[in-house]
Subunit: 294 residues, 2 copies
């Protein structure tokens, strides 16, 4: 059974105690208004956490990113402790499974409501089986994201780097990948830099160095990438954020897509050309990522 909890009121400025904010609801019944700006305008933000062996992973990192996304959209500051309590309660009420995910959705709420109030829910969902992708890897295509790599600071209204509900382009990119016979996408900037996947962060190994594209390019800071960097550092590898041109990918000793539920998926081909898959290092990194307990 899927567990869903509404968090209301969401605003950190509201005096309601945490307990009074959480309401378990039936996700099989409609819970969202046809006037909610989340659905009429994709006007909101979200997070997806992995839950392994009953432990929600990287909760602080996800809450911090949620807060940051909300700020970028001028949404009211969410009560992170209420959201955290909802995440833990969803996990506690869910049937124990080896892996699941928890999604946090936060919208600007019902248009023109008086008083204005954000909408927020937290829901537990099946994680799917990612064993094959973690081991065998994924094929990716490079797709132009249309923006120059330095757009973010110049045009904050483009919301690059915020995890918004306006994900239609990310979904369309994944359909384009499928049309080309590939599993996933790595976006490139219009001026030739490598950015990120529609739902993942890129990592690249060049010898003893592990690189990820610099988030200053308007990328989402990867929570799983950050944890993977911790692991790689323990293996004597250096880690850093860089500007990476798409032509440089051909020289990589390994590439991965990092995300909160799939963890590290090695990239086994880019636009049809093969990429070496480092089975041993990948397996060790995923064991580390799956074993995280806060």
């Amino acid at each position: 059974m899927t567990v869903c909890i509404l968090v209301s009121p969401l605003e950190a400025s509201d005096p309601t105690p945490t307990d009074g904010r959480l309401q378990v609801v039936d996700p099989g019944s409609p819970q969202v208004s046809v006037l909610d700006l989340g659905v009429t305008r994709g006007d909101g933000v979200f997070e997806v956490l992995g839950v392994v062996g009953g432990h929600a992973q990287a909760v602080d990192a996800h809450l911090s990113r949620l807060q940051n996304s909300a700020m970028m959209l001028d949404l009211p500051a969410p009560d992170l402790e209420a959201v955290r309590a909802a995440v833990l309660q969803v996990v506690a009420l869910s049937e124990p499974v080896p892996e699941m995910l928890v999604k946090i959705v936060l919208t600007r709420g019902v248009e023109d409501a008086e008083p204005a109030a954000a909408t927020c829910w937290v829901i537990g969902l099946p994680a799917g089986d990612h064993e094959e992708e973690r081991r065998r890897g994924v094929s990716v295509v490079l797709l132009d994201r249309g923006y120059p790599h330095d757009i973010s600071s110049r045009a904050p209204w483009l919301l690059t780097g915020a995890k918004t509900l306006s994900y239609a382009v990310n979904k369309a990119a994944l359909r384009e990948a499928a049309r080309r016979g590939a599993d996933d996408v790595v976006f490139t900037s219009s001026d030739g830099y490598v950015l990120e996947g529609p739902t993942s962060t890129l990592l690249a190994r060049f010898g003893t160095r592990i690189w990820t594209p610099a988030i200053a390019q308007g990328l989402l800071p990867g929570t799983t990438q950050a944890a993977a960097f911790e692991f790689f550092a323990t293996q004597g590898l250096s880690t850093s954020e860089v500007l990476l041109r798409s032509g440089q990918l051909a020289d990589a000793d390994a590439l991965w897509l990092a995300s909160s539920v799939r963890m590290l998926a090695p990239v086994r081909s880019v636009d049809g050309w093969e990429v070496p898959v480092d089975q041993e290092l990948t397996a060790a990194a995923n064991a580390f990522l799956l074993g995280r307990v806060e």
Copy 2:
């Protein structure tokens, strides 16, 4: 009272007769699933029609654009006759007012539902009072949309030219305009061409010529712009789609933003510099637009 009608099933391929597809629901109660891809991913499309004196305007043009947006998102082909019937029924059931609007929302439906089924509703809403904007005009700022003007054909996965539910950037741009003390936005391409507003089409008069930015730049074909072009043609003005550089705006004899509910709003300033407002021509155009009866 707000009238809302769910259209289900939406797919044109379904044999259900039109009558059996429409269900009047209470928009004050939640009608949308927390798992609907419309709200979790902004994965859907919409249209907004003006209704003047009980007449829904440019219904064919809006349905045709809805169908086109759906196609660009690989959504199932909607039953346009059912949507049309819902629009007319919403208008018929609504309290008669001089002006209102009808919104059509179409999403990819509940994630992983078996069988997959799109979600669609049609809702009547107050139009607000746009008299002042139609007469006195609006101040606008130019904001970079981040894309080069020729991105559309090269990167269809960016969904430029589709009216998707992923409108967070459009809303953020309007907040940026408000921060700068302006009423509205005209987007420009990263290579200096003038595009469109977040919810409107730009029209410019240069002497006896009326221009609008070419939709091949990934712009939404404007239903109100098209009707305004019909009017301007009756006034002996020539009309055409062009590539317009932002520098050229300073030489315009008049600028307007066209949209389905506000109709033509003259632009009275761009980034703080004044633009001539042609009161007489604007009033005549708006009288024509408001008087349309199909």
